[in-house]
């Protein structure tokens, strides 16, 4: 896999620090297999994010840069894991069995992961109102009743949650 002829900043960093990062992650997680996965995902994230790979050549302290990204990868990993477990639990609570292919499931989980990440940091009622309207398809009056607030509050919550999501979406695309 290694090409000795042309070395990009990415390949240099991979060769010089991959082993070290894996060791660092192993000390943090106490688990060699997880450390190997997280190390691989960290490099993959650098490679697949244009912003990250543009920064690579200017990184002064590669190891602190790598641990910053590795921490984010780990947090996402824990979140994904929690979401996947919650999804399975939700499926089991369905009155009728649902047939979902592995591909569909992957896409659904990815979407849920993004939605969940976008709503983080919003107040509980705000995110509840948004999800009840957008996923459960409830009317504002039904949501108001369920949350014990007025219909005009529900509308405000909706606007707030939507604005929050739009800001994050545009931040990403900038």
């Amino acid at each position: 896999m290694r090409s000795s002829a042309k070395t990009t900043p990415f390949a240099q960093m991979y060769d010089a620090h991959h082993g070290w990062l894996r060791g660092w992650l192993q000390r943090k997680t106490g688990c060699s297999w997880q450390a190997a996965d997280l190390a691989q995902d960290t490099f993959l994230r650098i490679l697949t994010s244009p912003r990250n790979s543009a920064q690579l050549a200017e990184v002064r302290e590669p190891r602190s840069y790598l641990t910053t990204i590795a921490r984010r990868v780990w947090i996402d990993f824990v979140r994904r894991d929690a979401l996947e477990k919650a999804w399975l639990e939700a499926l089991q609570q369905q009155p009728e069995p649902v047939a979902i292919s592995a591909e569909e499931q992957t896409l659904i989980l990815e979407t849920l992961f993004q939605v969940d990440a976008m709503l983080e940091g919003l107040g509980e009622k705000v995110s509840q109102a948004f999800l009840l309207s957008q996923l459960e398809g409830l009317r504002y009056s039904e949501i108001a009743e369920r949350l014990g607030v007025s219909v005009s509050s529900v509308k405000k919550y909706m606007a707030k949650a939507t604005e929050h999501c739009l800001l994050l979406m545009c931040e990403d695309s900038l």
């Binding site: 943090k28 060699s32 919650a86 609570q93 659904i108 979407t111 999800l131 509308k155 909706m158 739009l166």
Partner: protein, 331 residues
């Protein structure tokens, strides 16, 4: 720069306001007209409204009720999760999530020896011989712990795939001639051999078991002691809540001989399987994913396998870097 940014934020806020109006009940014709006027008033408004549409499409792409329940359940578990993250941030070392969850697994008898961290890297295959003659073969990217007590052996499979041939032809539940009963545990449940030869593969949310000889019993973790039997020539998909049994695909253990055998597979499946044996990213362009292919491919030389695929089908192998390879349509 910052003033145009704050102008953009204002536009997004207005778009969000319009969305909250249009999702409500009793939207008037007047409101619909005003919204249309607002969108058409400026290209930046159109862009902002496209983002709203994108968000809406994303939310509509998931099955609403299950999605809602999933996020509910996850939110309730949020506190526990944050506690785990804190321990990661401030403590050096400590147990991983996986081992925390699994510490509950009951083990009969005294623990004699705990050999942690048998692991193969991507592309590696390794054989472990236990002293009672049991043969374990670890496929690529596999991690397991081997736990031995006075009366039994326990394999905890965290990731990857194993082939098991129990020692002396003795079944897992009938110890004799020094052989100890063996069990394989995964996150989803227990695999108890009543026969001799089988494979176990751990997926993110399920475990597949293919039985080559005799019989295996499966006990999912949250099925309240309910078990299912899987016979030779069958394979089972075990989630934490249940087991689904189907006829086994042929040659499921061909990897133990360094081969991947595909029989009328979609190309996407073959590429996904090959990618397990290769460092970096190997993916299949959706445009060619459904092409059918059969063949036997060498696992120790995935480059040759890719070459063979591009000879057999109208596809080419496109390389962004050595770590990022895509099988795409031939142009």
């Amino acid at each position: 720069m910052s003033s145009s940014q704050s102008a953009q934020k204002e536009i997004l806020r207005a778009a969000a306001h319009w969305y909250s109006v249009l999702c409500g009940e009793d939207v008037t014709e007047q409101q619909k007209r005003e919204h249309a006027e607002w969108v058409e008033a400026d290209p930046s408004h159109q862009l902002a409204w496209q983002q709203v549409e994108k968000l809406r499409q994303q939310l509509q792409s998931v099955p609403g009720a299950s999605a809602f329940h999933t996020l509910q359940i996850k939110q309730q578990q949020g506190q526990k999760r944050r506690a785990v993250l804190r321990s990661f941030a401030f403590l050096a070392g400590g147990a991983s999530l996986g081992s925390l969850a699994w510490r509950q697994t009951p083990v009969n008898g005294l623990i004699k020896d705990w050999t942690a961290g048998h692991r193969t890297v991507t592309g590696e295959r390794r054989e472990l011989a236990l002293d009672d003659g049991t043969q374990l073969i670890l496929n690529t990217d596999t991690a397991l712990d081997l736990l031995e007590t006075d009366t039994s052996r326990l394999v905890r499979l965290y990731d990857g795939e194993i082939f098991v041939r129990t020692g002396s032809g003795v079944s897992g539940n009938e110890p004799g001639r020094g052989a100890k009963p063996l069990q394989v545990h995964t996150e989803q449940g227990m695999v108890i051999p009543l026969g001799t030869v089988f494979t176990v593969r751990k997926h993110p949310v399920s475990t597949s078991v293919t039985v080559i000889e005799d019989r295996v019993e499966l006990i999912p973790v949250s099925a309240a002691g309910q078990s299912e039997f899987v016979d030779a020539g069958e394979q089972a998909e075990m989630s934490s809540g249940g087991v689904a049994i189907s006829p086994a695909s042929p040659q499921m253990d061909s990897w133990t001989r360094g081969l991947l055998v595909a029989v009328d597979w979609p190309l996407s499946r073959l590429v996904a399987e090959l990618s397990r044996y290769r460092a970096g990213v190997l993916r299949c362009d959706p445009a060619v994913a459904a092409l059918r292919i059969s063949g036997a491919y060498p696992l120790d030389d995935t480059e040759r396998a890719l070459q063979a695929i591009s000879n057999a089908l109208p596809v080419r192998v496109s390389r962004i870097t050595d770590y990022w390879v895509t099988v795409t349509a031939l142009l």
